[in-house]
Amino acid sequence: MFFAANWIRDYSSNFNRNYRNQNMKLETDLLISYMKKIHKIGLTDVLYWQDTDIDFQVICGQIDAIKQAAEACDYVYIYDKLNGELRKIVNDISETLFNKSAEELKECFWKINCDALQKRYPEVLQKLKAIHSEENGECIRPYGLRGRVVYTENGKEESDLFSACNPNDVGIRTAEKLEIGRYSKTYVWGYNGGFEISELLMPDRQGADVEIYVTDLRLFERILSNVHRSWLLVVENVSWKFEVSMDEFLNRIDLRDSNDIYILVGERYGNDLGKLKAFIDRNSINSNIESFLYKKEEPLYG
């Protein structure tokens, strides 16, 4: 159920992206099959869902409406459905699942993520398992529809690493706004769930080359314990580097064409960001680092 709901949410993010670019591709067959799956599970597993407000019969009506709209090529109607009624249903489903089965989901995500990591980075997995055994739920929010949100803190500041309601959509939009897709190579310093990378791996973008530098294994473990990210761990275009120091990272950056690379800073309160900023400025590299060194001048409230 979780994966079907999630699939629909991601389908909506991709649809919105295509809508923005006027690439109207209506592949509604898969969407309808996932909606049917949700409907079937909801009606079969009556006991689980009986004390919720979710009316699975409504999904039947939505399926018919989507079919008709697809037949009429009514993209605006589908845009509204995906961002309105359907989003509400899948969000309600996810919320119920996390309220009732948080531990099972967490175990499931951890297992799937570990299996993926085992394929490429078995030595890192061993270290993560050791960290996992000591995990105490620190820096995990009680909310999140794709997985419980992991946050970092720095004094009075706290920062969620990804959106609780729609991390993929926010990630895609962020990548679009930062125009990361314009560059042939992306270095990611600090792992925040990597939802921005989804934009670079869209089928219409070819040859994305991404290196993700995981600076904090404890944080990495928290993310993999709470969010399903196996796909990103195995995708070929993305290579992962672990426990690399800032100096080592800077040495690894290929400066032959510095105009064509992007350094995406993922962690808000990482160490040595000043050093990274100086390097970026010196070599005129494109990056979002300014946003991560931002200090607001006056407190807004209180």
Binding site: Q22, D74, V76, S163, V170, K177, L300, Y301
Partner: protein, 307 residues
Amino acid sequence: MDKEDVLFLKSVRRRIIEICDYIYKQKWDEVYKSWKILNPKIYRFLKERGECREILDYSAESLKKGNFLRFHDLLLYELDIRFEEQLCKLTEKDRKVLAELYRQENEEALETYHEELLQIMHDADHASRITCSYTGADNVSMSIIEGSHSFQLFSYRNPWRESFELADGMKFKMPDRIYVLGFGGGHTVGELQRRFPAAAIKVYLPNKDIFKAVLFHMAEKEILENRNTEFYLDSACIGFFSDVNKEKRKNNNFGFYIDRQELRACTGSAAMTDKIISRYKKEKAVVREADSGKKIHDYIKGLVING
């Protein structure tokens, strides 16, 4: 809710989209600045109605901690949804009163700024293909009947976000002129006016009946009063394609946008619209078939959709 409340909620929803956009751009300063202006207004609005302000407190708390993603979620998935519900709850009776007000304002704006279009308001009504229902977040939702199907003219939930998204997809940066085919519900033209205040915007109207229906039901006064925006009746779209082509040949700094739904209402089929747009994207000659069945060949080379 009266007219002022409705306009206020609409403007707040648009501001929310803008603030979220600053968050995607990671422009935190702009987030703070925008929220500093918006927050007291929303606070006052809710207080006057005795409504729950808890969500504003959560939002302020998140922002205070520099938790922009949480702030984003609260704005978009809590606050905006409440405002959407309030707008959607507006009764048909209230909407009809508003429609009459809007019609008068639109007519006055046409009289002052676009006298040549005024006749449209008095033309005989042949708009049997347009379904106008008093529902949705804007004053009305509009659909165009096409054979046995119909299609929506603009989003009924959040046409401001829809037009913001469409404007995001446009490739031009700071054009001198923007050519727009189809007014739609006016949301995208409004968005272009806000984004490019210095650009001259030329709106070509292929479907007089749609434009008339919009002017009779929706608040377009501000858009019509914009001195940089001109309107042209262009039932076969030839004016639009020809003017865009001229700009292209001269290699001028311009942009263009085609409202898919309006083009579809003009060509009479989704398939034809898709074909035109995909040919545009491939930068090839465009062959357009009007609903009269007559083929019009527009040889427009070197163009991409959205300019």
